[in-house]
Structures are given as structure tokens and as C-alpha cells.
């Protein structure tokens, strides 16, 4: 409920703040005889951006909530299995090669980031499947190693093409500068679908917390559940990266806030994480747009705001 109020307030602030000064009256007048400039700024720029920020925040937080349950490890986040490192490599490679054509509402780097992110996760998963069955620890370690390799390549390409550095920064630290309705339409159905599926399978996730063997004994199809959750979290993270670059901290921290506030039941955790993650990112984007005359990459804000708040919650509880 509180999240809903915050969300509505954040949305209103998003619409009414920006480098061009417009008032609530200007917004209301859109209904009668719309001024095309005001319409473009309110609807095409500010509203699409706010909605996209919300969706990406929801996707990242949900992905993080899923992975923390999946690994039974509070340190897990959407990027630990290699999505972010794969995606940054894809994006930087696209920029370095001048592959900038756009398709399906994604920019060239976005498209390549999406596939490279998912590709690296699949590669990591396939690697950890070999040699005597699948183990979660192997997946985690393989993901970290493959991620480090991808990061090294990313730095290499950045170094080789120093003139594309400015562009790359907005990829590596995230930004909603180019938000538009096409991107919203591309990712919204997937985010909704994954949230639905995660909520539907939430009971099985609760069982996983007791250990794979116990969960199996209690009638949960552990292998299939694990696959489905891994695929969902990877898809969510890759979509988020494809439209906005790499935004850290949301996936790691938001599920913790929610767990501290409402407890560990996964059904509520998934729904509340998505709502809280979306609202959190909406506010972070507000700051990114308005804090300085020039825009900040949003990754700077998520960490700067998220970390202190997280510490506060953690210690208040004790």
C-alpha cells in the first residue's frame, strides 16, 4: 500500500520535473486541445521513461529475488551467473564495431547485449551440467569465472576504441536517456509473464529452501523448477540490460528490503520485490535526471541511495 502511494507520487514527480519547466496545469490542458510540444514531452519522453524505469526495476528486483532463493544465498543477484558481464561485452562490442542498427525497439548494442547476456548464461549452465550432474555451487563458480573473462574482454575493447568510451559509460552504468514506448512494449509482456510464472511456482521455491532432496521428497519437481527459475531470472536481467544498460544494486538489495519488511514467503516476496524494485528505480531515475544539469548514469544513484538505506534497515532490525 505504501509502495503504491510512493509509486503514484514518483510518477507525478517524473512527469512534472525536468530541464523544461512545465506545470500540472500544462498536463491537465493536454486533455482539451493538446499542445504538440507539451504532449511530446509529457507522454513520449517523461511518461515512457518513468514506465520503463519501473519495469526495469521490477525485472531486476524479481530476478534478484528468484536467484537468491535459487542459490539459497543472499549474495546472489541477477548478474552473478554472468548476465551482466556477457551483456556488457555484447554492448561494448556492438559500439566498437559500429553495429548500431535498431530492431524491435532495441538499439544495436541493446540487441547484442541481450543475446550475449543470455548466451553467456547458457554457456555457463552447459559447462556446469557436464561432469557428473549439476551442482548449484559449480554453476555459481563457473558464472563468476566466465563473468571475469567477459569483463576482461570488455575492458580490452573499451581500451582499443577509446573514442566510444563516452557511449560505453552509459551502458556500463545504465541510463534511461533513450526510453521510448517501443521499449516498454517490448519488455512489458515478458516482465508480466515472468512475474506470473514466478508467483505460480513460488510454493516450489519455498520448498527449495529446505534443500533439494527434501523438496523432491515433498513432491516438487526440483530439476524442472530450477530450470524454469534460472531461465526466468536470466531473461529478466537480459531484458533489463538490453533497454537500459547495467544497473547494479537493485537486484541485490531490493529483495532484502522486502524480506526484512514482510518475511521470506516467496509468493509475497516476488510480488513485493517487483513493486518495490520498480518504484525504487523510478525514484533513482528522477534523481539521475534532475540532480545535475547533465544527466548522471543511473547506476551511480542506485548504489549511492540503495546502500545507505540497506544498512539502515539491516541495523534497525537488530
Amino acid at each position: 500500500m505504501a509502495v503504491l502511494v510512493l509509486f503514484v507520487a514518483g510518477l507525478a514527480l517524473s512527469l512534472l520535473t525536468g530541464p523544461v519547466r512545465l506545470t500540472a496545469g500544462d498536463f491537465v490542458r493536454l486533455i482539451g486541445h493538446p499542445d504538440p510540444v507539451h504532449r511530446a514531452i509529457f507522454i513520449d519522453l517523461r511518461l515512457s521513461r518513468a514506465v520503463l524505469a519501473f519495469l526495469v526495476g521490477a525485472a531486476l528486483a524479481l530476478s534478484g529475488a528468484i536467484l537468491q532463493g535459487y542459490f539459497r544465498n543472499p549474495m546472489a543477484d541477477p548478474f552473478v551467473v554472468g548476465v551482466s558481464s556477457g551483456a556488457s561485452l555484447g554492448a561494448v562490442l556492438a559500439t566498437a564495431l559500429g553495429f548500431e542498427a535498431a530492431a524491435f525497439g532495441f538499439s544495436g548494442p541493446g540487441l547484442l547485449a541481450f543475446f550475449a547476456g543470455l548466451g553467456l548464461v547458457s554457456f555457463v549452465y552447459a559447462l556446469s551440467l557436464r561432469r557428473g550432474g549439476f551442482k548449484v555451487e559449480t554453476l555459481l563458480l563457473t558464472g563468476i569465472a566466465a563473468g571475469a573473462l567477459a569483463s576482461a574482454l570488455t575492458s580490452f575493447f573499451l581500451f582499443m576504441r577509446s573514442d566510444s568510451y563516452d557511449q560505453a559509460v552509459f551502458w556500463l552504468l545504465g541510463s534511461f536517456q533513450i526510453a521510448e514506448w517501443g521499449q516498454v512494449a517490448t519488455i512489458a509482456p515478458w516482465v508480466v509473464l515472468c512475474l506470473g510464472a514466478a508467483v505460480w511456482l513460488a510454493r516450489d521455491m519455498d520448498l527449495l529452501a529446505l534443500g533439494d532432496d527434501t523438496a523432491q521428497a515433498l513432491g516438487s519437481p526440483v530439476r524442472r523448477v530450477r530450470k524454469a527459475f534460472l531461465a526466468m531470472s536470466a531473461l529478466l536481467a537480459a531484458l533489463a540490460v538490453a533497454v537500459s544498460g547495467i544497473i547494479g544494486f537493485v537486484g541485490l538489495v531490493v529483495p532484502h528490503w522486502v524480506r526484512i519488511l514482510i518475511g521470506p514467503s516467496h509468493r509475497q516476496l516476488f510480488i513485493a520485490s517487483a513493486a518495490a524494485g520498480g518504484t525504487f528505480l523510478l525514484y533513482c531515475d528522477l534523481l539521475a535526471r534532475n540532480l545535475l544539469p547533465a544527466e548522471l548514469p543511473i547506476g551511480v544513484i542506485t548504489a549511492a541511495v540503495g546502500a545507505p538505506f540497506f544498512l539502515y534497515l539491516l541495523h534497525k532490525k537488530r
Partner: protein
């Protein structure tokens, strides 16, 4: 057709509200007498001085889409130095965006002026301006015909480190057209960080310092002269270190011809009556 390959239908009437997303475009628009129609420029657009009072749309790499839209332009001229994703975002708002590439050499300047003239429907003025600039370049070519030697030039960008222009920079081309040879021309980059020992090994005959002010030039020259090992370099020994206006040289606009004339005059004083 613009330099991204997007077809660009010529406007039937001359655009009245133009947003320029790069300093060299702003400069050309003003040189064409269209300054009064420019409604938005970047924060780097400082030439000519009249640009000071025009609303700013942000910087070269961080133009603000919302401000651009609010200016309600009927023509946006972007540049390949602008982030493509932002240029595309402006285009998706339904604004007419014309994207121009930066030139590789001095000769690319004339078609650039022509094309800006075409999209702003100032064709004849653009043709006159390009022709006048071409004449001045031709005068330099004539003056340099049959030169006996091509002095070796090192171009230094004032600031931290020895940044110089590689072979892909149009500044390297201008040094060449001025009857010199850029010592870093073999490096396949626009701008590169050069090594001090390379400068000593290259032993340039002249050194150009691209500086924003006489004070910057002076401090740049003193820094060079004091650098260990550089005192033996020919240009330093002969005192052939010259100032080039960085503001003019860093923008792919009409003042590049001034840079050419200046470089030619100091590289080959014998051909320009010793004026330096």
C-alpha cells in the same frame, strides 16, 4: 540522404527554427547568415560570439532530448560525434534530423558546407562560401608549388601529456596540405598519446601547439622546452614552435582554412614573404 543513410526530403520552405548539435555546424550556419534562425546550440558552441545568447541543449555527448523537443525545431542538424542512440531518440519524436559525418580531410569541408546549405535552403550562399574557401586553399596550393622540402611537423594538443593527431585526423591532412609532414601520420588514429622519446627520434623541424589562448601556448612551449631530451630537437633549437588556435582547429568548419594558411606560412616562410 544524410551520413547515416537516412533519406532526408528537402524542405519546401527554408527551416526557421534550427537546432545545431555541434560547434562546427553552428559555425557554418552563422557563416551562411542563418544565425538568426538557430534556436538551440551545444554548450561548446562559442563561435561566433553571437552564439552566446542562444539556448543550450546540453553538450556534444550529452544533448538533452527534452530541451531539443521543447525548442520545437523544424530542423535538427546532428553530428557523428553525438551519441547515435540520442540522435535516434530525437528522430523518433518525429523531428527532422540531418546527421553529418566529420571529415577526414580538408576537401571534405566543401561538400559539408554545400549539404548544410541544401537542407537549410541556402544553396547559393553555401556555394559562394565554399567557392571562396576553395580559392583560398588553391592560393596556398599555388604558393607551395614545387617546394624543395617538406619540413616535419609535430602537432601538440595543449594539456596533459603529449596528445597529437594521427593520420586519420583532418589536422594531419591540413599539415600535409600546408607543405609539411605530420610525424605521427603513420598512426591509424585521430588523436593519440605520443611518447617523448618518439618526438626526440622524429626530430621535427616545426612544432605546432594547439592552444586556446596565448597564455596556454606560452606555458605549453615552456613545458616542451624544459622536457628532458627535447632541447636537442630541431624545432626547439631553432625556436620554430608556433601557436595554432585550438578553437578553430578543433572544429570541422570554415576556420580550418585559416589554420591551413597559418601553418603554410610558418612551415614555408620562404613562399609567404616571411610572414609568420
Amino acid at each position: 540522404m544524410d551520413d547515416l543513410g537516412h533519406p532526408f526530403p528537402l524542405p519546401s520552405a527554408a527551416p526557421r527554427r534550427i537546432v545545431s548539435m555541434a560547434p562546427n555546424v553552428t559555425e557554418i550556419l552563422f557563416a551562411l547568415g542563418l544565425g538568426g534562425r538557430v534556436v538551440g546550440v551545444t554548450r561548446f558552441c562559442d563561435y561566433p560570439p553571437e552564439t552566446r545568447d542562444i539556448p543550450r541543449i546540453g553538450g556534444l555527448v550529452d544533448p538533452n532530448v527534452e530541451i531539443i523537443r521543447s525548442l520545437d525545431p523544424d530542423l535538427v542538424i546532428a553530428f557523428r560525434g553525438n551519441p547515435l542512440r540520442l540522435v535516434e531518440r530525437v528522430r523518433k519524436l518525429g523531428l527532422p534530423v540531418f546527421v553529418l559525418d566529420i571529415g577526414r580531410g580538408l576537401d571534405d569541408l566543401f561538400p559539408l558546407i554545400d549539404r548544410i546549405g541544401r537542407v537549410t535552403r541556402a544553396e547559393s550562399r553555401a556555394a559562394e562560401m565554399a567557392a571562396a574557401l576553395r580559392r583560398r586553399v588553391a592560393d596556398v596550393d599555388t604558393a607551395l608549388r614545387g617546394i624543395a622540402s617538406r619540413p616535419r611537423a609535430f602537432v601538440l594538443l595543449y594539456g596533459q601529456g603529449l596528445w597529437t593527431c594521427g593520420g586519420e585526423s583532418y589536422v594531419s591532412d591540413i599539415a600535409d596540405r600546408a607543405g609539411g609532414v605530420n610525424v605521427a601520420a603513420a598512426l591509424p588514429k585521430k588523436w593519440v598519446l605520443y611518447k617523448r622519446e618518439k618526438v626526440i627520434q622524429d626530430d621535427p623541424d616545426v612544432i605546432f601547439i594547439l592552444a586556446r589562448s596565448a597564455a596556454d601556448f606560452e606555458s605549453g612551449r615552456q613545458r616542451l622546452e624544459r622536457m628532458p631530451g627535447l632541447a636537442g630537437v630541431k624545432a626547439v633549437k631553432d625556436g620554430r614552435i608556433y601557436e595554432i588556435d585550438e578553437n578553430a582547429a578543433s572544429r570541422f568548419g570554415p576556420r580550418l582554412v585559416d589554420v591551413l594558411v597559418r601553418m603554410a606560412a610558418v612551415v614555408h616562410p620562404e613562399r609567404f614573404g616571411g610572414m609568420t
